[in-house]
């Protein structure tokens, strides 16, 4: 039935796409007043639209007018660099735009426009339009300036060592952040506007020659296919270009950190930056990336690897622990060490519910608390979490509603699930499924479930790259960053699974070595 | 058993229209045949008809044959 729904949607989409977008071009009129009126009508006489008219020149004054939108422009700049010079003009002969452009306007970005649409677009993005009576064209003076959030450390991806800056809501800032990190001319930003109403600017970033051209084309194709009223966040883009929309696993990666994004670009991936969201998406996204953190590369080798394996462990814990607990406690008692079994039996003595119900129930309670903690304002949120932890956890056990083991299990699961931020959603979903399976079939259910998920993962593809690579299919060269994180100087090739045109990342044999007579130098 | 039954019925109901829509009569025939076999078998087992244990009988036959040609087993 899902397939049918999909078909339906496709049909609708076709119907929508069929009428071609009429791009009516209205030339500018030579009469200033008429133009201004037209513009004001287009903008519906918005309260934030400023429309100033004035005379230029002494002997034969010409009526001129500037239009800009308050809040998007730099007032001082307009006053000092546009109005002042224009009002001080001492010319005898009649002025026209060329003259002004050449010798009076002290503005960097400056554009000559003939049509009403381009003018409006310019004005709406924060330019100032200068029109002169008797001329069928106008000047767009770039005076963009608006309030924006400064660059701050992202909350979601906090790291211990390494850069502290994060992306902001402004596209330009973000591209600048990337440029600052990758100064090679091959870094490309191809922008396009998506969304009929919002006209959101979207930028596909990649490094020419490192990213595969086919991949870039594919990304652009998928982006072009999007035909919707408005894009308000990267997430909505993501859902349009995702390979497996009905899978619990996301096949598009995201990051708030320029350094991470730059690293992925360097590996031959493509980044999608959307104006208005501080989150940048990178494709193709492989399963194992979700276990990699910038810190892995900043910390010492052994610690970093330990942490990575702990992350793997944590993911499995957060997915399987409740299920395993249920399976063991209510199906396979013979697999529990005797003393542990006695403790568990003693703890669950006389609890009203079965292990499955307990696990599921406590899981739901936890999710509720988490949601509350996030949504509520900080101080209240803490209060909620305390209440939840103490009251729910403690009281239920004391009241004998649930056994202590379940509470421990759920708490452990919850904590573990936070170690792998980008898989929280999938883990939360799978956890429930596995608990149910365990409740019905015990270990059999869990094993079959695992096989099922494994097949599913192996069958997924992210922009043509197998989602589970380099583990299934095995790509030995790429295991250097999955099984263990080898020293950086050993990673001399780019990931093979994302086959980038130039495979070599760095020179081989650049292992740090002590110079022969280094010691003597030290002594002397 | 009933679950299998339901699944098979549902599957047939799901796939038949598509095959008809795509005018794949041969597919429809084969798939339909196999599925109907399944449905019938599932139905019989569901209502508790004693199905002969095919392989079991076969092995009995083989053992008889062995004895006929005089192999001690």
């Amino acid at each position: 039935m899902i397939r049918y729904l999909a078909k339906l949607f496709n049909a609708l989409a076709k119907r929508q796409r069929s009428p071609v977008k009429q791009s009516s071009v209205t030339k500018l009129d030579s009469g200033l007043t008429h133009n201004l009126k037209h513009i004001m009508d287009e903008l519906g006489n918005g309260s934030d639209v400023v429309n100033r008219q004035f005379l230029i020149g002494r002997s034969a004054p010409v009526l001129a007018g500037v239009i800009f939108i308050d809040g998007l422009v730099d007032q001082e700049m307009i006053n000092d660099n546009i109005l002042q010079p224009l009002l001080r003009i001492e010319l005898e002969r009649p002025v026209d735009l060329d003259v002004l452009e050449k010798s009076f306007l002290a503005v960097g970005g400056l554009k000559r426009v003939e049509t009403m649409e381009t003018l409006l677009e310019g004005v709406l993005t924060g330019d100032t339009a200068l029109l002169i009576d008797g001329q069928p064209s106008a000047l767009l003076l770039s005076t963009k300036k608006w309030e924006q959030r400064g660059i701050s450390e992202p909350d979601t991806e906090v790291i211990v060592k390494g850069a502290r800056d994060g992306f902001t809501e402004t596209l330009r800032t973000n591209t600048a952040l990337l440029r600052r990190r990758i100064e090679h001319p091959a870094l490309r930003f191809d922008t396009m506007k998506i969304g009929k109403k919002t006209r959101t600017e979207i930028c596909v970033a990649y490094i020419q020659g490192v990213a595969e051209d086919k991949l870039v084309e594919e990304v652009k194709k998928r982006l072009r296919r999007i035909d919707t009223a408005g894009i308000l966040s990267t997430e909505s883009i993501d859902q349009f270009i995702d390979d497996a929309p009905f899978s619990p696993f996301a096949t598009v990666g995201y990051t708030e950190r320029p350094d991470v994004c730059a690293a992925k670009l360097m590996e031959g991936r493509v980044a999608i930056i959307v104006d208005g969201t501080p989150v940048v998406h990178t494709v193709p996204f492989l399963f194992w990336e979700s276990f990699q953190s910038p810190d892995d590369y900043n910390f010492r080798l052994f610690y970093a690897n330990t942490m990575r394996w702990i992350r793997y462990l944590a993911f499995f814990t957060s997915v399987l622990l409740p299920g395993v607990y249920v399976a063991l406690s209510s199906y396979h008692q013979e697999l529990i060490p005797t003393n542990l079994l006695i403790s568990m039996a003693a703890a669950t003595e006389g609890t009203p519910f079965s292990a499955v119900v307990e696990a599921l129930g406590m899981g739901v309670v936890f999710e509720i608390l988490r949601e509350a903690g996030i949504r509520l304002p900080r101080p209240v949120g803490q209060a909620v979490s305390i209440v939840g932890a103490l009251v729910i956890g403690e009281a239920t056990v004391i009241a004998g509603l649930v056994g202590a083991p379940v509470v421990i299990v759920v708490a452990l699961t919850a904590i573990a699930s936070f170690l792998v931020p980008s898989q929280v959603e999938s883990a939360a979903f799978l956890r429930v499924v596995f608990t149910c399976l365990a409740g019905v079939f015990g270990a059999l259910g869990i094993i079959n479930g695992l096989i099922f998920v494994y097949i599913h993962l192996a069958s997924l593809r992210s922009f043509g790259v197998p989602f589970l690579a380099p583990v299934a299919p095995i790509v030995p060269a790429d295991l250097k960053d999955v099984a263990v994180r080898v020293p950086i100087w050993m990673m001399w090739t780019r990931p093979k699974s994302i086959d980038s045109p130039d495979r070599i990342r760095q020179a081989m044999r650049i292992r740090p070595e002590v110079p022969e007579e280094g010691h003597d130098d030290d002594r002397s | 058993m009933i679950v299998i039954f339901i699944i098979l019925i549902g599957y047939l109901a799901n796939i038949a229209p598509r095959l008809i829509a795509d005018k794949q009569w041969k597919e429809l025939l084969v798939v339909g045949a196999v599925t109907v076999c399944g449905i019938v078998l599932a139905g019989l087992m569901m209502v508790g008809v004693e199905i002969p244990n095919v392989t079991g009988l076969m092995s009995q036959a083989f053992l008889k044959f062995y004895r006929m040609i005089g192999i001690k087993v």
Binding site: S329, E334, L341, I342, A355, V356, V440, F441 | V3
Partner: protein, 380 residues
């Protein structure tokens, strides 16, 4: 469709589910046989988890409410399985055998032959192959009812004792797996430790009092702890233990066995069957009351005494086994391995042949360490 499947699964699901608070864990099984009624008598020791865990446990096994941490169920049946189910029938929960630790046979059982009781424990998936097999010397019920001092249930005590026999090596702990293996052999006679409750009132304690010897599942005799060690010497299962003997000048010395190994060489030639048993033992000097310093020469003397002592133990055991015509060492299998062809003829009348086997025992003892003192404390 998917929904329908899920509903069916969840609705019909949970067939085998057994919550922890729905099962009664059996820790020990006592098996006995009633000859005239032809009834298997099963005594099951079931534990109460709550009491097992309770911190304040007055006098070992009684928890809060004065309840014992374990209690026993008595049931009868034509077969073990029947009795097992009747045991569950007596209480509110189903008896779960997955954590059973010990199986103890009573007098009747060993007389009737234990083989007919074990099939259940091997066939059924619940019981584990690591349960210890014992034979009760005395009343079965006393043993299972025994109030241990350290543990909560007597089964745990027995289990611990079994794991701990290495300290003297005077008992031979047998797991279900090994026992069944021995029973399946035609010639080797299985053995199982004997256990009994000794003492009265508060001084009651469990004690391993030797080893029961079986033939074809029936008990045909017993050997004493010392002789048990002899058996262990031969099959190389001695872990540790103390040999104490009078030194030349009358003062006692005791030698600690550290590790031991053995080899059995069967030889079959014209004038009958010989078996050469080589035993190697590595010892430490554990204690020396008076006497001279631990000079190498002295040590060699000690070694020779130790060897004699060990040899004595072994020979004694061999005589016992001859008397019982019970091949407890698995000599027959040794012959089978070496002289497979001729063994076929010997196997049927092995019971008669066994006593005729000529044993030659040679022991090599070695004293490595002498403890932390060089000279013994002067004894006055």
């Amino acid at each position: 469709m998917v929904l329908a499947v899920l509903v069916c699964l969840l609705a019909g699901g949970c067939w085998d589910r057994q919550e922890l608070d729905e099962l009664a864990l059996a820790f020990a099984a006592g098996l006995d046989y009633d000859m005239e009624q032809k009834q298997v008598k099963l005594i099951t020791q079931v534990i109460r988890p709550g009491q097992m865990k309770s911190a304040e446990s007055g006098g070992g096994s009684t928890g809060q409410g004065g309840q014992k941490a374990s209690f026993i169920l008595e049931s009868q049946g034509k077969t073990v399985f029947e009795a097992v189910r009747k045991a569950s029938f007596q209480i509110s929960r189903r008896v779960n055998w997955t954590h059973n630790m010990v199986i103890i046979f009573g007098k009747g059982a060993v007389k009737a032959g234990v083989d007919k009781f074990l099939d259940f424990f091997v066939r059924n998936p619940e019981p584990r192959p690591h349960q210890y097999i014992l034979v009760a010397d005395g009343d079965l019920k006393d043993i299972l009812n025994f109030k241990p001092n350290l543990e909560k249930a007597s089964a745990q005590t027995i289990n611990g004792m079994m794991n701990n026999t290495g300290v003297t090596s005077e008992a031979y702990p047998v797991t279900l797996q090994e026992f069944v293996n021995d029973l399946m052999s035609n010639t080797k006679s299985a053995t199982a430790p004997l256990i009994k409750v000794v003492g009265e009132g508060e001084e009651q304690k469990l004690q391993l009092v030797g080893t029961a010897v079986f033939r074809k599942g029936k008990q045909i005799g017993r050997i004493e702890p010392k002789e048990t060690r002899g058996l262990l010497w031969v099959i190389g299962k001695v872990k540790s233990g103390i040999i104490s003997l009078p030194s030349s000048d009358g003062s006692e010395i005791s030698i600690e066995i550290v590790q031991a190994s053995s080899k059995i060489h069967p030889v079959l030639d014209g004038d009958g069957m010989h078996v050469h048993i080589h035993v190697k033992a590595i010892c430490n000097l554990g204690e020396q009351l008076g006497g001279e310093n631990a000079k190498p020469k002295k040590m060699i003397e000690f070694q020779q005494w130790a060897e004699k002592e060990i040899q004595k133990e072994i020979v004694h055991t061999i005589q016992c086994s001859r008397r019982m015509k019970a091949d407890i060492f698995g000599i027959g299998e040794a012959f089978n391995r070496k002289y497979h062809k001729r063994w076929r003829t010997m196997e049927p009348k092995w019971e008669e042949l066994y006593p005729k086997v000529k044993f030659s025992v040679n022991v090599k003892a070695k004293i490595r360490l002498i403890g932390e003192t060089l000279i013994p404390l002067p004894a006055h």
